[in-house]
Symmetry: C2
DNA sequence: GTGAAAGCGCTAACAT
DNA sequence: ATGTTAGCGCTTTCAC
C-alpha cells in the first residue's frame, strides 16, 4: 500500500516521513496524492470532498476516496481554495484597544463566534490608536482579500474614517461617522439610560439622581435623554439638582458622594460601574448604606467589579458581545432600511442587590 | 489608457469608478494588469515588487513599473503568494477564554504586536473551553498552513494537550503539560511571590501575612515558595499563623480580614488584586486603615481595580503582554537550552500607595 | 536586463 | 459517473 510513495520516483528523500500513518510531519498531502491512492482523478476527489450535489459519484468511489483521505490525513489547502474561488473567508477586525479595557475582548468574542458559525475566520489587528499600524493593517486586509472589515472602538464615539476604508465593505462597531454612509452597530444609549432609571422607578423611587459622565459622547447625551423619558413616563418633574457630572471612574464617584447625599435622592443612576464603586466607598464612609439607605444602579456590567461589590451591583449591561456579533452579520449581509444607518443594540438590565423597594 | 473601463460594458454603474485613479472599487488589479500598463512582463513586475537583488532591472524599467503600480493601486494577492511559496504568514492563537477575563486581551495584544513586527498575522480563535471548537480550529489552522500555534489559557495551569496539536509547531502560553516536550511560556510565580514579600520587607515589615488561593496551581505553590524565600533571606522565621487560604475573589478577601487583623501582621500579600479589594473593604469596616494601620500588596495588576482603589494598590504584575509576545518569539525561533522547556517571564513590582514604611 | 514557461493546490466547465 | 483541461495570481528557474 501507499503506492504513491513510489510514484514520486526517486525524488527527494524529504518526505519519507509519510510512511507511517501517524500524521507526523505529513508534509503537505495534496489532492493529487489522495487521487493517486484512491485511483481516481483529482476532480473526483474534489467533488466528493465538497459534496457537490449535481455531480453524482458512485458510492463505492466515494468510499474509496474517503478512505484515502483519512489514511493520508488529507486537509485541503485553504489558500489554494481561496485563490481559485477568488473569494476568501476572511473578515478583518480593526480595534483601537484591546489592551486597556476588558471590553474589546467581548466585541472580539462576539465577532469571532458569529464569523466562525458562518465559516469565516477573523483577521484581527489591534492598532492601539496608531495610525501607521492602522494603514498597514488595512493594506494587509486588502492583500488577503477580506470579505469586509469591522472597525471597532472601545467606547462609543464618533470617529473620522481612514480614507482607505471608504472603498471597502466596512461596518463601524461601537462608533460612527456622520460624514459617511457606513452602517454603524452601536449600543442603544437612550433606552439604556431609560432602563437604568426604570430599575429604580419600578421599585417605587421618585427622587432618583443621575450621575453623568464629563466626557462628551453619545453615552452622555443619550442616557440622560433616556433617564428623562423614564421620569416623564412616570409623571415625575425633573429636578436639576439631581443631575450631576463626574469623571467616569472610581474617583469621580467618590467626588460626588456628598452632593448625592445632600440631594436627598433615594436612588441614583451611575454613569458606569466604576463610578458606582467609588460612590459605594464614599457613601459608606459617611455611614450611608446601600441599598438600605440609598439604591444604586451602575452601567456597563463589568463583571470583575459589579458582581463582587458589597452588595453586588445592579446595573445595565453594555452589549459588547452582541455588538461584535451583529457587526459580522452586517458585514456578511448588510441590513436595509436603517434609520441613520444605525443598528441599535439593546442594553439589558442586570438585577443584583443594590436596589431596595420603596413603598 | 485605462481601456479596461470600457470592457466593463454598460454594466452596473457602481464601478465606473475605475475611471479616475481614486482607487474606488479597484476590483482585483493583478500583476498582469500592471505588466500591461508598464509594457513589461509579469516576471519583471514581480522582480521589482520584491526588490530581488540578484536580478538587476534597469532603473528606467523600475520606474515605469512602479508608476504603473501606483496608478493602478496594485496590491499583491497574499493568498497567491502564500500558495506559490508554500509557506503562509499565519500564526494560530488558541485561547480558552477571552470573554470572562480582561487578561486574555493582553496576551493577544502582546502576541499580535510581536507577530506583526515579524510580518506575521494572527489567526485567533477563542474556544471558550469548547473542545469541539478547539478541534475545528486546529483543523482550520492546518488548512491555512499556519507556521505555528500558540495555545494559551487565561490562568496559569496544567493542561492536557489536544492530540492533534502534538504534531505541530506548538507553544504553550500561560500553561504547561508535563507529559509533552513542548515549550511553555509562563509567569515566574516563584519570583513573583518573592517580589511581593520583598516589597513589604524592604519597608521594614517583619510580620507579613500571606493570603494564598485555595485553587491548586503553580501560582499557589510557586508564590508561597517565593514568599518563604524572601523571609528566609531576611532571616525571618516562618510563622504558620501568618499564612491563610482564601477564595481568589473579593469575597475571599473579606472572609479572611478578621484572621489577618488578629494575626498582628503589619503587612499582607494578597493572592490577587480582587482579594486585596475585599480585604480593604472588610478592614475599613473594622476601622483599620490602609496603609497607616496595615500595608497590603496585591497581585495581577488589574488596572481597573488596582489603580483606582483607595489608596491605589501596590501590586505585582502578571506579565500577560510579555507572555503573548514571547510566545510568538518561541514559535518563530524556538529557544534552545531551556530548563524543563520553560520560558519564565518576570512579574514586576508595581508601586502605588498601599505600603507604608516601618522603622 | 528581461521574457517565457512551469508550476503551487485547487475548482469548475466541458468532455466522455 | 468520472476524467481532461484550464486557469486563479503569483514566484522562479532558465533562456535569450
Amino acid at each position: 500500500m501507499r503506492a504513491s510513495a513510489e510514484s514520486n520516483g526517486g525524488g527527494a528523500d524529504d518526505d519519507a516521513a509519510q510512511v507511517m500513518g501517524d500524521g507526523r510531519h505529513a508534509r503537505h498531502v495534496t489532492l493529487k496524492d489522495v487521487a493517486e491512492l484512491a485511483g481516481v482523478s483529482v476532480s473526483t476527489v474534489s467533488l466528493v470532498m465538497n459534496e457537490k450535489k449535481n455531480a453524482r459519484i458512485a458510492v463505492k468511489t466515494q468510499e474509496r476516496v474517503n478512505r484515502a483521505i483519512r489514511e493520508l490525513h488529507y486537509r485541503p489547502n485553504a489558500l489554494a481554495q481561496n485563490l481559485v474561488t477568488g473569494t476568501s473567508k476572511f473578515i478583518g477586525l480593526l480595534t483601537d484597544s484591546i489592551a486597556t479595557t476588558p471590553f474589546a475582548g467581548q466585541i472580539i468574542h462576539g465577532a469571532q463566534d458569529r464569523a466562525w458559525k458562518q465559516g469565516y475566520v477573523l483577521l484581527i489587528v489591534n492598532t492601539e490608536g496608531n495610525e501607521d499600524i492602522e494603514r498597514q493593517a488595512i493594506r494587509m486586509f486588502l492583500e488577503y482579500k477580506v470579505h469586509g472589515i469591522l472597525y471597532s472602538t472601545w467606547y462609543h464615539h464618533e470617529i473620522t474614517l481612514p480614507q482607505s476604508l471608504k472603498d471597502m465593505n466596512t461596518v463601524l462597531v461601537n462608533c460612527y461617522s456622520d460624514t459617511e454612509n457606513l452602517i454603524s452597530v452601536v449600543p442603544d444609549e437612550f433606552n439604556g439610560g431609560r432602563t437604568a432609571a426604570k430599575m429604580l422607578l419600578e421599585q417605587g423611587h421618585r427622587r432618583v439622581a443621575f450621575i453623568n459622565t464629563t466626557v462628551e459622547s453619545p453615552a452622555r447625551t443619550g442616557r440622560l435623554a433616556g433617564y428623562r423619558r423614564a421620569l416623564a413616563e412616570q409623571g415625575i418633574a425633573e429636578d436639576p439638582s439631581l443631575i450631576v457630572d463626574a469623571e467616569p471612574t472610581q474617583e469621580g464617584g467618590r467626588a460626588v458622594a456628598e452632593v448625592i447625599r445632600a440631594s436627598g435622592a433615594t436612588g441614583v443612576c451611575c454613569h458606569n460601574d466604576r463610578v458606582a464603586m467609588g460612590l459605594y466607598d464614599a457613601l459608606r464612609n459617611r455611614g450611608i448604606m446601600v441599598p438600605s439607605d440609598i439604591s444604586v444602579v451602575g452601567f456597563d456590567d463589568q463583571e470583575v467589579i459589579a458582581a463582587h461589590m458589597l452588595p453586588p451591583l445592579s446595573t445595565v449591561a453594555l452589549p459588547h458581545y452582541e455588538l461584535g456579533a451583529s457587526g459580522v452579520d452586517a458585514v456578511l449581509a448588510p441590513p436595509v432600511h436603517l434609520d441613520d444607518h444605525r443598528v441599535l443594540i439593546a442594553c439589558p438590565a442586570v438585577h443584583r442587590e443594590s436596589i431596595s423597594a420603596l413603598d
